[in-house]
Amino acid sequence: MASRENPTQQREGVGQWALAWRRFKKNPAAIAGLIIVGFFAFLAAFDRLVAPYPPNCVPTPFNPFCTGQYSPLQPPSLAHPFGTDSNSYDVYSQVIYGCRAAFYIGFGATAVAMIVSVLIGLAAGYFGGNTDNLLMRLTEVFLVLPFFLILLLFLKVLYYFSNTGAGGLEIEILIIGLFSWPGNARILRSEVLRVRGLEFIEASRQIGASANRILFRHILPNVLHVLIVLTTLQIAASVLIEAGVSFLGFGDQTVATWGLEFYYGFNYISDAWWVETFPGIFLTLLVMGFNLLGNGLRDALDPRLRE
């Protein structure tokens, strides 16, 4: 029964991606996720048009870009639909700019995490033996590292060099990515182990295809569906981690992020609920969007993985 052809290249009738899309369409939760993510992507792309004020805008007479009045902690009103925070920033504008930052963080950190996971997962699964052993030990080490603490420490170093943490967002993204691969690599490894046993890969190994070619031409396409799902879920996780960092005041304060708004608002919870509530809702919605999307993709791409 096992086919000698690479199943991703040769399929009779409707392709597997078309089938997956059909399954995806039938799942309301997945569609909801797609719509949410799409909506946020729109906000992120057109933030400058949607937001009334520039990012991190202190409305002083000396600030030519910002015409608002210096009015900290104002409740929601027509001029400031989400109120203002303790810096007099317009929370609505800050939240809109936060969308772009969130995508930047999510995609950036996930790209890093996924590149590492793919390299390690594929190598461990394909070569097996000592390589596998070594890589899996390394993975375990990374799993017990107090990652969040080390992240905070790193960011403190950045502060020392820049004072505002400027440029810190990129470094933060890099570090989040560099610590987020172990779980993903493990899953990819087990997928590779599954695929490696398939007949067509045995066959191409026997005709002397190079490891590189087998890995990237044959194995990678066959674990692609898993990779897509992991990527989507990793985006959600990365956004959450960054928000936590900014909430503690360790983020890059030159970039408007939702977590930063939390940081500003936290000391004034009893006076100004709006500073926390609106960014929180946006953050939760976006993360939820990616989570729903990821799970929808999992159901659609690989019904076997449903749980």
Partner: protein, 331 residues
């Protein structure tokens, strides 16, 4: 004629999956008489296991038995309350699942798992149940039952596990045993031993049995009657002798011709060209028509009836009367 013990009629069990409705069992009818062994044969995926599970009412989700009757000693099992059904399972009808290597719970000892079943159906003390369990192990040919009883499944060989599964099935003296491919997962030498054991026990206890297999050789060796399944439906039913000497269904003919020699028990059947049909969108008319050497237009248009053709024989084919099928194994 002997007394009917189990009579299944028009049984339909479907799986409601993501990809569509899998019509795994689609109108199966069969009988088991007291004390006899019925062989249930068919290729992989023909619905043998699901039939047995439907009789026991243990079809896993998303499967559902949606139609039919399962009459067991005058009761329709499909109508019983779940609590009543629990007292039939394991006590009156026992089921030996397909793969002995996975039918024992890995975290409990052999003794625990036998005692549990014995005490569920019989009002006995734990000590008595344990003694009974040891005796059972002894009766299924396990050496050193006192040691085995305290061992865990991972410490046992496949053959031993299967013997224990058989012991568990026998533990409450059932009237009917459904044995799902009891030998397929085992080494050839062990296969023969387990078959001998089953035949032996059957003789001693006079229990009726449904023996699920895809090995015609085993059928010839052990079964009084046989029901041949294809794609969730019955092809034909008859005594072993009738079916082997004088098959009435083209699929049976093909099955028999794929058995090179009865002495040489083959692991798998299918040397029949074509493959088992998709059970979500099964072929129109007679489900066997894409692979049938005798198919005509009528076979594509219309699903044949399961016709009684006398002496407990049934055939599910439009053309059984006109065809003159030969048996490759007829003596």
């Amino acid at each position: 004629m002997s007394e009917t013990l189990l009579s299944v009629e028009g049984l339909r069990t479907y799986f409601y999956t993501y990809a569509g409705v899998v019509k795994a069992v689609d109108g199966i009818t069969l009988q088991v008489n007291k004390g006899e062994t019925l062989g249930l044969v068919g290729e992989s995926g023909s619905g043998k296991t699901v039939t047995a599970q439907s009789i026991m009412r243990i079809v896993p989700t998303p499967g559902k038995t949606i139609e039919g009757t399962v009459k067991f000693e005058e009761r329709n099992l499909l109508r019983l309350k779940e609590s009543e059904m629990q007292h039939i399972r394991g006590k009156e009808i026992a089921y030996i699942p397909q793969d002995p290597t996975t039918t024992l719970d890995p975290v409990y000892s052999v003794g625990d798992q036998l005692v549990e079943v014995i005490m569920r159906h019989q009002p006995v003390s734990k000590r008595y149940a344990l003694a009974k369990a040891i005796e059972l192990l002894h009766s299924v040919g396990i050496a050193d039952p006192e040691i085995r009883i305290n061992q865990y499944p991972h410490e046992l060989s496949g053959g031993t596990k299967q013997r224990i599964a058989i012991a568990r099935a026998l533990s409450c003296e059932p009237i009917l045993i459904l044995a799902d491919e009891p030998t397929t997962a085992l080494d050839v030498t062990i296969q023969a031993q387990i078959l001998e054991l089953l035949k032996d026990l059957k003789q001693k206890l006079n229990v009726a049995m449904v023996l699920i297999t895809h090995d015609m050789g085993i059928v010839a060796d052990t079964c009084d009657r046989v029901t041949v399944l294809y794609a969730g439906q019955v092809c034909e039913t008859g005594t072993t002798e009738q079916v082997f000497e004088n098959p009435k269904h083209p699929y049976t003919e093909a099955l028999l011709s794929s058995v090179p020699s009865l002495a040489l028990r083959k692991e798998t059947l299918s040397v029949i060209p074509g493959s088992v049909p998709n059970l979500i969108h099964p072929p129109s008319g007679c489900r066997f028509h894409p692979r049938c050497a005798y198919s005509r237009q009528v076979c594509i248009d219309k699903d044949p009836e399961l016709e009684p053709i006398g002496e407990g024989r049934f055939v599910h084919c439009h053309r059984w009367k006109e065809l003159d099928l030969k048996s490759a194994v007829a003596s």
